[in-house]
């Protein structure tokens, strides 16, 4: 598997993502700077990491979505490459119109940082196959703008297409329909607020993040 993590000014989970994917799959991961116009050849997986790209100026993810490398990421996604956006990465994918909806300020106005239980809403995806019949998975959440919103029509569409991948058991931020993670219609681009990259070994409180990355590895 050939994988890369995109690094923006203000990304702070880029190295976590690299280590998480490497330890979960045993494959090497390269780092790609946001000013690049081309991605390494033959990529199977692109991870857009969490953090505060461009200081969350204007809106979380808004500036990063316009960066040069995102044109190449969009092209790769259209060619079927798996793209994973975690936390700020999810916000960037929504801002780049690669996923529907938007992430707004948490309904409680507070930054929420804690391990969080999720249900796998769609077990038949390249991101979740390995979870099998596991009822709940645990990953760590850490965000201020995690409140997923989509208008009624969009919501109906993404629910109808089974694009919701993860839901919160106990909604921490007001997300509509308890949505924690969604994928695009083609099923190769996912955005999720909880961090699989902070939950990939039992010592971190959960190894469910490793199962997430291994699912992607299996699907290749």
């Amino acid at each position: 598997m050939s994988a890369a993590v995109i690094v923006f000014p203000g990304s702070n989970c880029d190295r976590d993502c690299k280590v998480a994917v490497e330890r979960s799959t045993g494959e090497q991961v390269s780092m790609v700077w946001h000013a690049e116009t081309e991605l390494p050849k033959g990529l199977d997986l692109i991870v857009i990491p969490g953090g505060f790209s461009y200081g969350d100026y204007l809106r979380s993810g808004a500036m990063a979505a316009q960066s040069k490398v995102m044109q190449a990421v969009k092209k790769a996604a259209e060619d079927g490459v798996t793209v994973v956006g975690i936390c700020n990465g999810f916000q960037i994918l929504c801002e780049a119109d690669m996923l529907p909806g938007a992430l707004m300020k948490n309904s409680g106005l507070k930054y929420v940082c804690k391990p969080i239980s999720l249900t796998v809403a769609n077990k038949d995806t390249r991101f979740t196959k390995r979870f099998g019949d596991q009822a709940e998975v645990v990953m760590t959440q850490g965000n201020g703008d995690g409140n997923f919103f989509a208008d009624a029509e969009t919501l109906k569409r993404i629910e109808g297409n089974n694009q919701v991948v993860f839901r919160y058991v106990d909604n921490p931020n007001g997300s509509v329909n308890d949505i924690a993670g969604i994928m695009n219609e083609a099923g190769n681009v996912i955005g999720l607020m909880p961090h699989p990259d902070r939950a990939f070994e039992a010592e971190l409180g959960s190894a469910d993040g490793a199962t997430f990355f291994q699912s992607i590895y299996d699907a290749l």
């Binding site: 204007l58 809106r59 808004a62 500036m63 316009q66 929504c94 801002e95 529907p100 909806g101 938007a102 707004m104 300020k105 948490n106 309904s107 409680g108 106005l109 409140n147 919103f149 989509a150 208008d151 007001g174």
Partner: protein, 79 residues
């Protein structure tokens, strides 16, 4: 040189949690008559005179970057 102001607010019907917090604080400070508080952004910049259709160009800026039209609406002032 034209002076451009873009006002960006969450759309009506989209819960504005900051607006609600501000409203609650103002009411608590002794202004019970405050309601419908909204928190938005004002983005101001100068635009060169040789930009042809300023209104259309600023609209494009809003749609591309300044507003997320999934959740926000915008108002343009050019003086």
């Amino acid at each position: 040189m034209a002076k451009v102001k873009v006002h960006v607010f969450l759309k009506p019907g989209v819960l504005d949690v900051q607006g609600k917090a501000v409203e609650g604080a103002l009411q608590g400070l002794g202004w019970p008559g405050v309601s419908e508080a909204r928190v938005g952004k004002l983005i101001a910049f100068d635009l060169a005179d040789d930009v042809a259709d300023k209104e259309a160009e600023v609209k494009r800026m809003c749609e591309t970057l300044l507003a997320n039209t999934v959740i926000e609406s915008y108002k343009i002032e050019i003086a």
